[in-house]
Symmetry: C2
Subunit: 470 residues, 2 copies
């Protein structure tokens, strides 16, 4: 186990000089907003010793020079919308919050690339490019997430079928390393085979290798039109059976989600927004984009496939408002279930293993009498199972702490056994470390630890995340 | 500089036991096929001490165990279609040829993924999936390239605009490390945020971190139809000016290439195949895919854009034969120019910098009176400049060795200055090492060397490639 030094008055004074007095927090009453993320359990909360809010890469670099000189642990924090404790300062030390590093530096319309500071939120990013009629396909849910955060977890979300996850859109990052040095990887280029891809190594590294301070993301021209289909089915098996036919058709949807009615009812109530159908037990949500005529044609093709494979009906939301409502209800599912949720998993499976994995989850639900609502990205095999504190009938479970870990283990083991990965988009963070070796093998983890060592020999960057130091 | 041991009789006997006598070559007359790649200059040729042709991952692993025990250098060799000396055994030692590891293990139609041994050629891969009506968008040129090779260089090619390079399609690799241990990274999953992506680190690492033995690639349903447009322009400037409008339109082509008439004339003569137009000085080559009706519509949109922006005409090749001929002429440009080519570069630029970079190349051509035909991937900024041994007028240059390095430096420096990278798809190999620090910065290279150290502490895997050992 590594040990770290406690921040002393001198170091705090030095840091204050770098960012200014009003951009640090040193009193514990200010730490509440910086000691947790969206993971539900209080056990992981941990206060930092100082919160620092730099506004430039150079300020981040100067803070890291002090941290490495003094051996202080440092955790970068973006929107803190993560679900695995990734930005929690588990060893105290310094939280570098990127909240002031929120500048959208350039929208390069000629190259279809946007340069931004890592603390820019998805919300600001989406709205700034919308004004230029540009489009960023990935939509990893909560829009208060920051660019640095979504790159650090390789976030995916609902709209990853056609164009892929954040990884596919990230062209360049600038990052501050543990010793304060600044590296860049990639550029405003689409093809790059120039040395090892530090860019792709940093993507998904959860702030353990470097603090991402700037990025260039590719964008696309805004599609002429977009349409959302809601397709009810009588049961999950019928619903998922149809998905491969969609994927093998001539239509490539932006998103193919499935979600059960019980969950939608709760999210509808929570959001006050309308969902177009309450038939059946489960829905496919499909988003199509393109030009008007094409979409109409594609809509017909998809409707035919689904109706031939047991869909009860096909509802089309074509107005912007209706589609926004649907995406909002879907995006707020997590929020709506949050109060009774212990944890939300994100097992990523070979797409054809989804149905049998969900059967296993149903069996686990019955065995423990715990509600385990499961929904997710039907097109890419990435599932979200909520482990709830209530029974399928809605009764509170008081002794959930006794069974939580067993349930979690059973679901995750089943996913791994079916060729799946323990995280499709949330990352490992603090809370999935124990499954990593089972999922990846000992040799791979040894290599990862050596890579960590290469970037951060003192082990001061986001310690205790992904894996423990030896 | 690292030193290595020379293979001794005992080690050769051991290796022979692993793969069988008929699967090794130890006599120098057999080395001719294994001492070079497609890079034109003889200077880089180097014989191995033994060529080994394993058929399984385990055999590769067993050979690596001997190599690491004895400190023999090892170079993996696929189709040897590389252009930067990447598979040349510059330090002698062992060449592991993957020519017998050519099994297409599984075509998984439900998950749209194909599992293959790394020695499978692109040709076999394309034809095996075609029978199942599946499609692999990237087309990095020469189809005798192997899957291991195209992953190791993150190859791109002509059809990377819509769906990206090999990186975007690689879901999983199995690799043998320097010490013989076998790791896997990724899986039959589309989303993966489970630890550092060794998968994406291995992609493009040119055989210096591990020997890729197996891979899973994503494929797509075969498009209903495909069409190729040949669009002549009077000059390069007019030609490239139109490209951003295409990229910002509602149509997303599979490929947008530009190529000059002089080059096409040579390639046409070389291949004996027909090119649809000889108007103007330069052509755009655009490939569209989708269903029949859509393509027709898209064709009109593209034709309108191009004609509005100065195109002389628009030729449509719709039959399979005509399209195959065009792709063949384009793919054979390198072969057609090869005899008089010293080197072919692959600078990757921000797309809006292409035209000014080509101006620079024209100036360099005039300054040295050397023909520098340049063509490439107009949609993604990746350019191929041939440094020729002849003048623009076609005269032989006898003293080309005196000016070659200066020309090369000027072109590459101009690319870097314009925000470009020195390799978009060929890799660094043996011959671009001297530009790496200028392009990436010292700190990044130090990190890369530490990563190399983490994977291969004895520095036996493909030594002398990408960078030199310290």
């Amino acid at each position: 186990m590594k040990t770290y030094n406690i921040l002393n008055r001198n170091a705090i004074d030095e840091i204050e000089k770098i960012v200014g007095k009003k951009n640090i927090i040193t009193e514990s009453e200010g730490f509440f907003n910086y000691n947790h993320d969206e993971f539900a359990l209080d056990e992981i909360k941990h206060n930092p010793e100082i919160v620092v809010k730099p506004s430039t890469t150079e300020e981040v670099s100067d803070v890291m020079k002090i941290a490495s000189r003094e051996k202080f642990p440092v955790v970068a924090r973006g929107g803190a919308t993560g679900l695995v404790g990734g930005c929690v300062p588990s060893f105290g030390g310094i939280v570098i919050s990127t909240e002031r590093m929120n500048r959208i530096i350039e929208i390069d319309e000629a190259n279809l690339m946007v340069t931004l500071q890592s603390g820019s939120t998805l919300r600001d990013f989406y709205s700034s490019i919308k004004r230029k009629k540009l489009f960023f396909p990935p939509h990893p849910g909560e829009e208060s997430a920051t660019i640095g955060g979504v790159i650090s977890t390789n976030a995916g979300g609902t709209r990853a079928i056609k164009y892929g996850t954040i990884r596919n859109f990230t062209r360049y990052v600038e990052a501050v390393l543990a010793d304060g040095s600044i590296i860049t990887s990639g550029g405003k280029v689409i093809k790059d085979s120039t040395g090892y891809s530090l860019l792709h190594l940093l993507i998904g590294s959860e702030g353990t290798l470097g603090i991402i301070t700037k990025a260039v993301l590719s964008v696309l021209p805004e599609p002429e039109d977009m349409i959302t289909l809601i397709i009810p089915y009588k049961d999950i098996k019928t619903c998922l059976t149809g998905v491969p036919s969609i994927l093998k058709s001539s239509v490539r949807p932006l998103a193919i989600e499935f979600i059960d009615k019980k969950v939608i009812e709760i999210a509808q109530k929570y959001t006050g927004k309308h969902w177009p159908s309450m038939q059946g037990d489960i829905f496919l949500l499909i988003i199509l984009e393109g030009n008007k005529e094409e979409i109409e044609k594609h809509c017909e093709i998809i409707a035919d496939i689904c109706l031939n494979q047991g869909a009860i009906d096909v509802f089309i939301a074509d107005s912007q408002q209706k589609q926004d409502d649907i995406l909002y209800v879907r995006s707020m599912v997590y929020e709506a279930l949050k109060f009774e949720t212990i944890e939300i998993l994100d097992v990523s499976l070979p797409p054809d293993q989804m149905a049998t994995h969900i059967s296993s989850v149903d069996n686990i639900s019955a065995k423990y009498n715990v509600w385990l609502p499961t929904y997710g990205h039907a097109g890419d095999g990435n599932l979200h199972t909520h482990i709830m504190k209530i029974t399928p009938g809605g009764d509170k479970i008081t002794d959930w702490k006794n069974i939580f870990m067993e349930i979690r283990n059973e679901i995750i083991f089943d996913g791994i056994q079916k060729g799946g990965k323990i995280s499709g988009e949330h990352g490992i963070g603090l809370i999935k470390k124990q499954y990593l070796e089972m999922c990846l093998g000992k040799t791979s983890i040894e290599i990862m630890k050596k890579i960590k060592q290469a970037f951060d020999p003192l082990y001061i960057l986001n310690p205790g995340k992904i894996f423990d130091p030896d």
